[in-house]
């Protein structure tokens, strides 16, 4: 017997990782870190495959995985430190928005931006520069960050602010984790007097009706989003818009507990789901039911935070519902004058039988200074598609060309299949971002499967 260790032997700290869409897996060494010092050590120890921070793995594609690399688990970097005098909070990069909301809502504060799930980390929210239903008035998550602590590729612990280090700050916002590891961040909060949202719900006749109502009325609301029936040729939908309800809008007996916040998880999807569950037939039925469930028009309804912002979080691990082939989400942003691409996309995908249960349309407001931030003024459509649909690759490539031609782009946190050429053309400031990234990470320590796939 000798002591040779096989290069093929599996190690205990190795994990096969995928994004939320459960496609294109790769294996990495997962290392838990609980301080900036730990992160520096991981960077110093990193092998030729580099390092990447991973949050809760909610990006759909390959942004939070890196084959052969050291993937950092920051879940113990989760302190939440509220400062009521500045109405801001300093949070560890590994803390989830779920935890932040649980800590802050009872104290009368809300996060400046929440995406469609609260199961994202603060580090991930900044790295993907996430947006929510208030983008048309309040911009992205990164726009509300006033300061962050970042360990760069040299292993230096740095403080980034939009005023003192604008280049590095904005390269890290939307930088997909490739400029450094976010240890903690300080961001502004929205003061609230109740945990309820006052919601106006309207069913729409067709896509044109949805879009013209959004153009006409969105400015009157802080939060606005439309769900679209992707199975119905008309593209009819349900518009939900609202704002935090002031406590005096609550019934008198509910005012004492106005800031109570108990988000629910009703069920967890089973581990093994047959691949055929998501098919055009079930999806048509789902879309029909979702449309019928909504009232024709109901204004001033008081809804819980979870029901309004995070309806999908009620079913844990719902991404398993797509079976073993997994799924992807196609999300683009186009300027107002290319609004017709929303309808084009819906019909192109319907034609190949790619019918989505979750199709979301939203108006974006102004962009921020981050070179790789996704939102730009106009429309954004997000549509889930099972990865196994035949003809999908060619259809999406064709849609990419239309989006690009219209001056639009795809969202890196959702992408799992665009071409490197599409990326470079749709993000003309990629070169500018790469120069700052090279400065922050001269040895190329930070990398991801997404970065390799798109030659970032």
């Amino acid at each position: 017997m000798n002591d040779v260790v096989s290069p093929l032997a599996k190690r205990d700290d190795e994990q096969v990782l995928t994004g939320w869409g459960r496609t294109a897996p790769s294996a990495a060494t997962v290392r838990a870190v609980s301080s900036a010092t730990d992160i520096c050590a991981a960077i110093t120890d990193s092998g030729p495959r580099g390092v990447l921070a991973r949050g809760l793995g909610r990006s759909y594609g390959d942004a939070a995985q890196s084959g052969g690399a050291t993937v950092l688990d920051l879940s113990s970097l989760a302190d939440i430190d509220l400062d009521t005098t500045t109405r801001s909070v300093t949070v560890g990069g590994g803390a989830s928005l779920d935890a932040v909301l649980k800590a802050l809502v009872p104290a009368g504060y809300f996060v400046p931006v929440t995406p469609g799930t609260r199961m994202v980390t603060v580090g991930g929210a900044i790295a993907a520069d996430v947006h929510g239903k208030n983008h048309h008035v309040e911009g992205t998550f990164g726009s509300h960050v006033s300061r962050m602590t970042v360990v760069d590729g040299r292993g230096d612990v740095t403080t980034l602010t939009p005023d003192e280090t604008p280049e590095r700050f904005w390269a890290t916002v939307g930088g997909m984790g490739l400029t450094g590891v976010i240890v903690d961040a300080t961001f502004d909060l929205i003061p609230i007097t109740s945990s309820l949202i006052s919601v106006d719900t309207d069913r729409t006749r067709d896509l044109d009706d949805t879009m013209s109502r959004m153009i006409a009325g969105d400015d009157a609301y802080r939060y606005s989003v439309a769900w679209v029936d992707s199975a119905h040729p008309s593209g009819r939908g349900v518009l939900t818009r609202g704002d935090h309800a002031p406590v005096d809008q609550l019934p008198p007996d509910a005012r004492r507990t106005a800031l109570d916040y108990r988000p629910k998880v009703l069920a967890t999807a089973p581990k093994l789901v047959p691949s055929g569950l998501v098919n055009p037939l079930t999806m048509r039925a789902f879309n029909e039911a979702w449309f019928r469930k909504a009232p024709k028009s109901r204004h001033g309804e008081l809804q819980q935070i979870g029901a309004f912002f995070h309806p999908l979080d009620i079913l844990q691990d719902w991404n398993r519902g797509y079976g073993s082939a997994g799924f992807l989400q196609y999300q683009f942003a186009v300027p107002d004058d290319a609004g017709h691409l929303v309808g084009t996309t819906l019909s192109a995908l319907r034609k190949i039988g790619a019918i989505s249960p979750v199709t979301v349309l939203k108006r974006f407001g102004a962009s921020n200074p981050a070179p790789l931030s996704f939102p730009q003024p106009g429309w954004t459509l997000a549509i889930d598609v099972p990865a196994g649909v035949s003809g999908l690759a060619a259809t999406l490539d064709r849609l990419d060309a239309l989006v690009l031609g219209a001056g639009g782009r795809l969202y890196l946190a959702k992408d799992s299949r665009m071409s490197p050429a599409m990326m470079a053309a749709a993000y003309p400031r990629l070169g500018e971002w790469q120069r700052v990234r090279d400065d922050m990470d001269p040895n190329g320590v930070f990398t991801s499967d997404l970065a390799r796939r798109l030659s970032l």
């Binding site: 096989s6 290069p7 093929l8 599996k10 190795e14 096969v16 869409g21 496609t23 294109a24 897996p25 790769s26 294996a27 990495a28 495959r49 594609g61 390959d62 890196s66 084959g67 052969g68 690399a69 073993s324 997994g326 992807l328 990865a387 999908l392 690759a393 060619a394 999406l396 490539d397 799992s416 299949r417 071409s419 499967d449 390799r452 796939r453």
Partner: protein, 252 residues
């Protein structure tokens, strides 16, 4: 990187002159393909393969000198290819049929068949597996053969090399389980290629294009073992269960 829809960006062919490998590269989705390395002995077939792929609009086609017999050189060639960037799909496609009568008359000829088909594949396969495992993703496609399912009197030297290769590839696939990398074992039947030219065709004979289609489908579905054509699986299951005295008398 392979994307969510199974579109590869880079492919390495070991045995770059192989007709099945060439057909497979041509059958792969190519919208994201930007690097194809054909590793093989310099030959007109290798040059022709480069021309065919380039003419088909595939960019980034390159060659590497690679000799299956020269196992001492394998590490350098394979490492150079992987150092040039992640490889999504490796086709281990080299192999020779040899001539059974010649092998029986001249054991050195039999050794050459064994060296190429088995020893060379063990050497290249392990080195590729180590690199795939280090990058945490990728598929090694091993061209085995139904001839390895059960040795036949008429070509048992070739059959035994494929039996060894097949067992090796299955074990390698199990070793890589959970590493992000995987192995696809392909067992074609009689395939119409230069290697089988002049031989009497067996039932269920197919062309390289049909094998390629089977491989591409298997890659998409994440399969571990496939027969080409697919129904051969049942034919071979039947043949494997025949008693020796019966099997021996079969006219094949």
């Amino acid at each position: 990187m392979m994307d969510a829809l199974g579109e590869p960006q880079s492919v390495l062919v070991l045995g770059g002159g192989s007709e099945i490998a060439l057909a497979t590269v041509l059958a792969l989705p190519r919208a994201r393909l930007r690097r194809v390395v054909l590793a093989g002995r310099p030959s007109p077939a290798l040059d022709a393969a480069v021309s065919t792929l380039t003419a088909a609009g595939i960019s980034g086609v390159a060659t590497e000198a690679f000799d299956a017999v020269d196992t001492a050189s394998h590490a350098e060639v394979i490492n150079r290819v992987f150092d040039g960037g992640d490889v999504d799909i490796v086709l281990l496609a080299f192999g020779v049929l040899g001539d059974q009568a010649e092998a029986e008359a001249d054991p050195d000829a039999a050794v050459t068949v064994a060296t190429i088909n088995y020893t060379g594949a063990v050497s290249a396969g392990l080195r590729v597996a180590t690199r795939l495992r280090a990058q945490g993703h990728g598929v090694l496609v091993v061209l085995s053969s139904v001839a390895g399912d059960r040795a036949r009197r008429s070509n048992f030297v070739y059959g035994s090399t494929k039996a060894g290769l097949d067992a090796f590839a299955q074990g390698l696939g199990d070793a890589l389980h959970g590493s992000g990398a995987r192995v696809l074992v392909v067992r074609p039947g009689f395939v119409r290629t230069r290697m089988t030219e002049g031989l009497a065709e067996a039932p269920m004979t197919i062309g390289p294009d049909e094998v390629a289609k089977v491989i591409v489908t298997a890659l998409r579905k994440g399969r571990e073992t496939v027969y080409a054509p697919g129904p051969l699986r049942f034919v071979m299951a039947g043949l494997k269960s025949l008693p020796r005295p019966v099997f021996r008398r079969l006219p094949m």
